[in-house]
Assembly symmetry: C2
Homo-oligomer: 422 residues x 2
């Protein structure tokens, strides 16, 4: 797998290769333990082996259910929030529409306006829904399911139940609803936390319904796993990424910005934010994960990056082939942009990226992660790479990568205010 | 103007009212100087007096041009980036579609895929464009104009020129193009920097074309101006906001998160980020401006806010009436959400906001800015409030609020890589 690259550009003098090598050496033992079969956190390491939820017969199951949905529906409404929808949405919005059903996202807010917009979008269409929730006490998918259930009942009467798929924990409340009402059930992996579920029914089934090549996605992840298991401590790509971010944190950086020049990476960046923010943001520690949607955001926060409080470093994310092309044609209007004649937008965008990284690297270290194309294989690589490196990074920071005790505080208040008694 | 409120909730003990009062007292003189007619930065203070670009006859001019566009077109493509499109986009995306033309946004990226999407969206529609650029050397609007010009020429032949409006600096290159090719020209105010132009042709004309009530918007801004000019130093709302942020910066906070439970505030938050990021992010200083699109983002970065590195405080933004309503109906499915029966989504969303602020205020100070409704009047108030308080805040920090020297670095590289010679 030559196409996935991690590189470092730094002219700031704030980070040396010797420091990185030393940091990697300190944690080489952790990497070895993970390779040999870590015992700590074993109950949350289900994502380590891609072949469990991403192998046959599961893939066949997702694909056959996807074919059923494609035959019966125009739209699949995915009802989920956080780890339950971000991975699928990241891939779907980056790759764009394919031959399958259109995916619509709901259950990720409590806004009456937003849910109204979803209903407006799907009216008159043939609709299936996939309700995804590890713990079906979460408010947003709960009320999203209610709103969409009412819509389906209006359209299909009691037959509505054939249009409902639920992805939940086996034996828990959502599973019980499926049994009772005859909805289709897919299991939410118990040994994988929400933000690590991209390569399970949570991420793979909606993508299959949209017509994505989920076999390529899983193969990309598997190839990344093979590579990371093969690479020795001092050359391991994930360990290097984790080492750099921990070093920079200790040097006083407080934010890592995932920057990209292809706006279609926006939802992937949101996925990445959750992964790192929830895994590391605890015990008063952690780099805050940000994103830079360039070039647009250069015109708002570029100034701060270049001259503001020096607490941000960047990781640029690039797909070397965007799959889009548009020539800059000349015409009779002398608009001052003649130097662009005959150039492709895509080439110009690539130049803007290189120019930005060079400018920013004068001030702080810039990492770059580069994949071959904006396709399923690349997203498989990216998911697995970030899972693995996030796990290493959180361990190096000294925190539990898999819990999120801090998200309960507002929920306790909310349930109390809303009069929930149990 | 009772409806605009700024309040502070803090149970963290990290900020006292006595400290705020002292900070405000230190800078009361600055406020007085601004009220009396500041002389420093005079060349960039054109936004202080709303009546210049937001009074008659300008409003009539924007409205009559808007009527022309509405009569001839279905869509107005706004070609601009950063300060040239964020304010209009903030209002348009928050309020939603009105009776005017649909606004489509272009010239804010270099992505070939994005510009292709714009062309795909407008094909078959009757189209006008508004090219907005203070300095028409900026790459994104330059190539956006080229792409849309080619589209218009295909549709209308040489008559295409009647579909082009340009908003640029008088006497500069975009103005010259208008004269030569017969495009309609609107002036970009010379005495207002890009990020302060919401209440000028830059922000107001596209909104008028979309059918927004720009008179209400300007009146909201004027009412805020009147209030801020009236309020004495120790009770001045803008001075209080500026004082709190500067105090918290000195106490070690490095990020201010603008948080909201109405996803439609997303583009307003982007506008706010540019305003504060570019105005304060210099001389190695400044709070980094972030946003929290809740409740969705609570499921990704809520953990970090509650337990991560303690460098973030929040300002909640709320519209007390969202204008949307949707009752949570009960049905025969016992889904565990019976405690919501008979409640309105909108009420639940408000409870979620209060619960979150209460939980977060245990850890860090939380400000709240509350407006009456998601309407033009409120956005007028918000624009002026943030202009004024950002100006005060940057002055208190000791930086020039109006320049952005740091954004040049990547442009120099880019122009060199692209072979631009002058």
């Amino acid at each position: 797998m030559e196409e996935f690259k991690l590189s470092l550009t730094d002219r700031s003098g704030n980070l040396t290769e010797a420091e990185i090598a030393a940091e990697m050496a300190v944690h080489a033992g952790l990497l070895e333990r993970v390779k040999k079969g870590e015992t700590e956190y074993r109950e949350s390491l289900g994502w380590l082996d891609v072949s469990v939820w991403g192998g046959e017969p599961w893939i066949s199951r997702y694909e056959s259910l996807a074919r059923e949905v494609q035959a019966q529906a125009d739209v699949l409404v995915v009802i989920g929030i956080g780890g339950s929808n971000q991975a699928a949405r990241a891939v779907a919005e980056a790759i764009g529409e394919k031959s399958g059903v259109r995916l619509v996202w709901a259950g990720n807010s409590i806004s009456a306006y937003e849910i109204g917009e979803v209903i407006r979008q799907i009216r008159g269409k043939r609709v299936y829904i996939d309700v995804i929730a590890k713990n079906f006490e979460t408010l947003e998918p709960g009320i999203g399911f209610r709103a969409l259930r009412a819509f389906l009942k209006e359209q299909y009467g009691e037959d509505y139940r054939r249009h409902v798929i639920c992805t939940g924990t086996e034996g828990a409340s959502l599973h019980a609803l499926c049994e009772k009402h005859g909805y289709t059930f897919l299991p939410f992996p118990q040994e994988i936390g929400g933000r690590f579920t991209a390569l399970s029914p949570v991420g793979l089934f909606p993508l299959a319904a949209a017509g994505m090549d989920i076999r390529a996605l899983v193969q990309g992840a598997q190839a990344m796993r093979d590579r990371l298991m093969r690479e020795e401590g001092k050359e391991n790509t994930a360990l290097r990424y984790a080492a750099v971010r921990n070093l920079l944190y200790r040097k006083g950086y407080r934010m890592e910005m995932l920057s990209f020049f292809e706006p279609r990476f926006f939802r992937f960046a949101k996925w990445w934010m959750q992964l790192f923010g929830e895994s590391e943001g605890k015990d008063n520690l952690g780099l805050y994960p940000l994103f830079g949607n360039f070039s647009e955001d250069l015109h708002s926060i570029g100034q701060f990056l270049q001259e503001g409080t020096p607490v941000i470093f960047e990781t640029f994310l690039e797909a070397r082939r965007s799959g889009a092309s548009l020539m800059l044609r000349d015409d009779d209007v002398e608009d001052g942009f003649e130097y662009l004649n005959g150039k492709d937008f895509d080439e110009v965008n690539r130049v803007a990226c290189a120019a930005t990284m060079q400018a920013h690297a004068e001030r702080f270290p810039c990492l770059q992660i580069s994949v071959d194309a904006m396709d399923e294989t690349a997203f498989g690589q990216l998911f697995y790479f970030f899972f693995f490196s996030c796990y290493l990074s959180a361990r190096m920071l000294g925190v539990n990568p898999f819990n999120q005790p801090g998200v309960e505080a507002y929920k306790v208040n909310m349930f109390r205010f809303l009069g929930k008694t149990k």
